[in-house]
Subunit: 333 residues, 2 copies
């Protein structure tokens, strides 16, 4: 028995249905089917040497976030792993399967290969709940309120800390001594690292918006608030005004002070940092959002065809196109 | 507008539904949904410098072959492209979209990234036709006849020719002068190169078997006849006897002579060459196969729990586990 067959046998013992069997999986869907795919690539989306257990969780999380923005319930995953010899496949799959189980997702298929650098992809298939609406980025209308599902910029801050030597080991974040952060900021730093490595997709929020059938547009923030707001506005054919003071106020305790202590601009992190995996969504102006923690109104859609940033002093300027271009040579800062 | 947005805009103008829009695609399925995923990696599945137009067709073809083995009709594709700067995305997507259109497949989603080496993956979602059976590799039973859907080994021969300098240019195969093949073999060589670069998945055969509801097991031959027959037998809990004379007779004209001229063992190519993308399937002993060209009976399943190769002189020996291990460092010969 070779390495692949041993791994597939090991996987089969851990899958409820008894393994991957055929190359093609049957997905017993009842509702309307939705699907999304995302890749995670060594030296592009994560540093070489990142713990395979973290990669398993993160690979699922970025896809769950896309599905959250559609308001669907995740059901099945198909995964590809192209890895160099020696990759800890079982550590990766144990973590991925545990994360799948937490979210009611069945691993339904996949493809394994050997390659010089680690490349992971996951296709997530979900179902629309009966009676629930579909959420789309193109459904924004002038006059709607713009809402953030959670803090932005913290993931980018966590990425900066990892680049400066922070580590997540056995569930605890270790900060390098040379950072020399005051105790008040060390807590914020640990939280930022965790948010970057272990994003928490807003599935409940997406399902609640889809059930309420009142939401306008929704998009998950993967490439930065500024860039994804531009996308939402362009798809919806509307303009917007984003309130910088409200965005700032959405930051968790210590965020701005920690960014400054690291020589980073907190506003730039919030607008262009990326990998936040929280939802940006719109609601009718007077509608009450779902009863979930951390939601904050941060602006308004309008018919101006421009996307503006309202500064705390009352002036407005064009919102810059900060954020990631996936076809530029280096996605990581 | 950056490179990614320009490419997505270009794609949107070529997609019937008006573009990829959201990160999540809605798939309006009517029947039971099936899904499969495969990756194609530079220097693993294809040589660096391979024409992106060939890669687009081939990426779809290997997935279509998996779906053919399930008896389902292909409907939607989600694709990931991780490519170095300068990759001819439009040439790749033009070819992929044309191949999708030929098979009734809609490009429903995807993810783009930059990476040092080219990595492609495609998730193909299909539907079971109403009243049609599912085909599975585990459905083989003792006493059934074993059938090949087409020739095996020719793709591996084509790969060997490419490694020796053969090229497909503007649709025509160019053979290097130093090969110095007699005219009778040059035609076989050109056909082998085409079969390797442009495999023709047996969708009609898969659909016909599923509609007839008589098929036992089915599997598509991607890793070599010997290895995939072992898989079928193991999944079905049966043994088999493979008739080498029948396998030899399934080879197209000139195959064996060409292999020998290149210093290769035709039998080893047929049993272990891989990437054939034809179906291996079983039927009740006296059943007539679908009326399609190129089908050949090559053996019988039995209850021996062993997989044997019947030699032309009447002796039998254990069928070796020739073929590819996807977790070994180099998949290519």
């Amino acid at each position: 028995m070779n390495g692949e067959e041993r791994l597939l046998g090991w996987l089969a013992r851990r899958l409820p249905g008894g393994g991957l069997g055929d190359d093609t999986a049957t997905l017993p869907a009842r509702g309307r089917v939705v699907a999304t795919v995302d890749q995670q690539i060594e030296a592009v989306h994560f540093a070489a040497g990142t713990d395979p257990a973290l990669l398993g969780r993160r690979l699922l999380a970025v896809n769950l976030s896309d599905l959250a923005a559609s308001g669907a319930r995740p059901r099945w995953a198909l995964v590809t792993v192209a890895a160099p010899p020696g990759f800890a496949h079982r550590r990766f799959f144990s973590s991925l399967l545990a994360a799948c189980a937490r979210h009611g997702v069945a691993l339904a298929g996949g493809d394994l290969a050997t390659a010089p650098a680690l490349h992971l992809s996951l296709t997530l298939v979900g179902e629309r709940e009966r009676g629930a609406a579909s959420l789309h980025r193109a459904a924004g209308r002038a006059g709607q309120a713009l809402w953030l599902g959670g803090p932005v910029g913290e993931s980018a801050l966590g990425r900066a800390l990892l680049e400066r030597g922070a580590r997540l080991e056995r569930g605890a974040v270790q900060l390098p001594a040379r950072l020399d952060l005051p105790a008040a900021l060390a807590g914020a730093a640990r939280r930022a690292v965790r948010r970057h490595l272990l994003p928490r997709p807003q599935l409940e929020l997406g399902l609640a918006l889809a059930r309420a059938r009142r939401a306008g547009a929704a998009i998950d923030l993967s490439d930065g608030l500024a860039k994804d707001l531009h996308r939402l506005c362009e798809a919806s054919g509307v303009g917007a005004e984003l309130d910088l003071a409200a965005v700032r106020a959405s930051a968790p305790t210590g965020f701005a002070a920690l960014a400054v202590a690291l020589g980073l601009d907190p506003g730039a992190l919030q607008l262009g940092g990326g990998e936040d995996y929280v939802l940006l969504f719109t609601l009718p102006a007077r509608a009450t959002p779902p009863q979930l923690p951390g939601l904050r109104r941060v602006g308004t859609l309008d018919d101006s065809e421009r996307v503006r940033l309202r500064l705390p002093d009352g002036r407005a300027r064009a919102l810059p196109h900060l954020g990631w271009d996936h076809l530029e040579p280096s996605r990581r800062a």
